[in-house]
């Protein structure tokens, strides 16, 4: 019962647009342009969208008016296309299914066939919708349960282990999860996504800095790995520029067209 109360809380906004709560999904198809993308993207797939339409328009799941549902569904699909939302193939497949059911319902029912055999063309769709809805609600309830870490911490009092011999085992997936946790907290999504190309530059930045750790000037060309491919050389070049931009290295050339030298910025101490 508490769950119902939570779900039905009218004060809970449907979405937030520029921080302002949108308290209801607007009637019919009109959705403020800013909200549209958010609303459309919130659907988990065609079943979720269909359920939304059915519930919103108070349609009877046991006797779905196929013409009306199909029309509304197609209107949403059209909107998604217009907003260039990545439209999963499943949405188009469902459109085909709806149209097929609709057309089968237009056919005259075989009068002589026994009632049991002439299955309602909507039966399978109805079953899938209900099964999905059941799981959707289950997911909500599961998410409402207090979760370790999120809703309560576990007690962990200091214990001085005698001779800590075993080291924690960690894998790549743990790193990914740690980053995921950071993203979730810091809302870094916009500018902290990490791409593969970026990682290769960062790797070269680290390699070059490590080479320069001695603090002396190093000829520019020595910083490149000769056996590297052309893209690899380009990445190293970008890495050196990036290091210079971040004031991590100092690049000097004593005369025009002369040899270029690079050294780590910390070498500056003695030079000054």
């Amino acid at each position: 019962m508490t769950q119902n109360a939570l779900l039905l809380d009218p004060a809970e906004p449907v979405a937030r647009i520029h921080g302002e709560p949108l308290l209801e999904i607007p009637q019919d198809l009109y959705i403020p342009p800013d909200a549209l993308e958010v609303v459309l993207e919130s659907f988990q797939g065609p079943l979720d969208l269909l359920l939304y339409l059915i519930r919103k328009h108070n349609l009877d799941v046991l006797d779905i008016p196929m013409a009306q549902l199909t029309r509304q569904y197609m209107a949403y699909i059209e909107m998604m296309k217009q907003h260039r939302l990545e439209l999963a193939a499943e949405y188009l497949l469902m459109a085909a299914v709806l149209i097929e059911i609709k057309s089968r319902m237009l056919l005259p029912r075989p009068s002589k066939a026994s009632e049991e055999e002439a299955e309602d063309p909507r039966a399978e769709l109805m079953r899938r919708l209900l099964e999905y809805e059941q799981m959707k609600l289950a997911a909500q309830r599961l998410n409402e349960l207090p979760q370790a870490g999120r809703d309560f911490e576990l007690v962990q009092v200091l214990i001085e282990r005698t001779a800590e011999t075993r080291l924690p085992e960690v894998g790549v997936e743990d790193l990914r999860q740690a980053w995921l946790g950071l993203l979730a907290r810091a809302k870094l999504n916009a500018h902290h996504k990490v791409r593969r190309e970026e990682l290769s530059v960062r790797e070269q930045m680290t390699r070059v800095l490590r080479m320069l750790r001695h603090g002396e000037f190093e000829p520019f060309e020595n910083l490149f790995e000769i056996e590297g491919s052309v893209p690899h050389l380009v990445v190293t070049f970008i890495a050196i520029l990036e290091l210079a931009k971040e004031n991590l290295v100092e690049i000097t050339q004593t005369e025009t067209l002369g040899k270029i030298y690079v050294r780590s910025s910390r070498g500056n101490d003695s030079a000054d």
Partner: protein
């Protein structure tokens, strides 16, 4: 009255160890307060050489739990054993100290978890069938890395798809002792009754 202290003394009469019941209670308490994971009865039995009966140990744990009735933490029994946790109602205050929280998962992740929890064992195909969309590997990796889901075998059909199930740790993290303690599923017939449960309705 079968006081644990007395029984312990009797057991100690065999002369194996000098731990008395009062001190053993403290050892169990310290073990539970420092443990990284819930401790099962068999874990706890390792704390002493004296062979202990489950029943006796359970009574000791209940008494320990009572000692914390008036404290900021509580001793819970979960799927893999006993563990202390912060009383959830106090957590919002603790959150003021640090914002280090694990992520809240998206609907896609939670729906996948729900299907695995309620329908296990299931294949990825089963999940896709119910959700009506592809289940990305990322979603499953996230659930596996969190230690909530694992592969427990393969289904004997062409392609031998992997069968997924939830773990004990998932139950622990939701403070449950068994799958039976999961929230009850909404009956299909209830769903038919014009979606009074749907959050979308809140909007309308």
């Amino acid at each position: 009255m079968s006081d644990p202290a007395v029984e312990m003394t009797q057991q100690t009469d065999s002369g194996i160890s000098a731990l008395n019941a009062e001190q053993f209670r403290k050892v169990v308490e310290a073990a539970l307060l420092t443990a990284e994971e819930p401790l099962s009865l068999s874990d706890l039995k390792k704390l002493t050489e004296i062979p202990l009966e489950n029943r006796w140990l359970e009574r000791l744990l209940e008494e320990l739990s009572d000692r914390y009735a008036d404290s900021g933490v509580e001793l819970n029994r979960v799927a893999s054993g006993w563990r202390f946790r912060v009383r959830p109602e106090l957590q919002p205050h603790l959150d003021r100290l640090s914002n280090e929280k694990p992520p809240r998962y998206s609907r896609a992740v939670m729906e996948t978890l729900a299907i695995i929890a309620y329908r296990q064992p299931v294949t990825r195909g089963d999940i896709e069938e119910i959700r009506g969309v592809t289940v990305s590997s990322q979603i499953l990796k996230t659930l596996e890395a969190r230690g909530w889901v694992e592969v427990i075998g393969t289904r004997d059909v062409p392609g031998r798809p992997e069968l997924l199930a939830t773990t004990k740790q998932m139950l622990d993290d939701f403070n449950l002792r068994s799958l039976q303690e999961l929230p009850a599923l909404e009956e299909m017939s209830g769903l038919l009754a014009q979606g009074s449960l749907l959050p979308d309705e809140a909007a309308a």
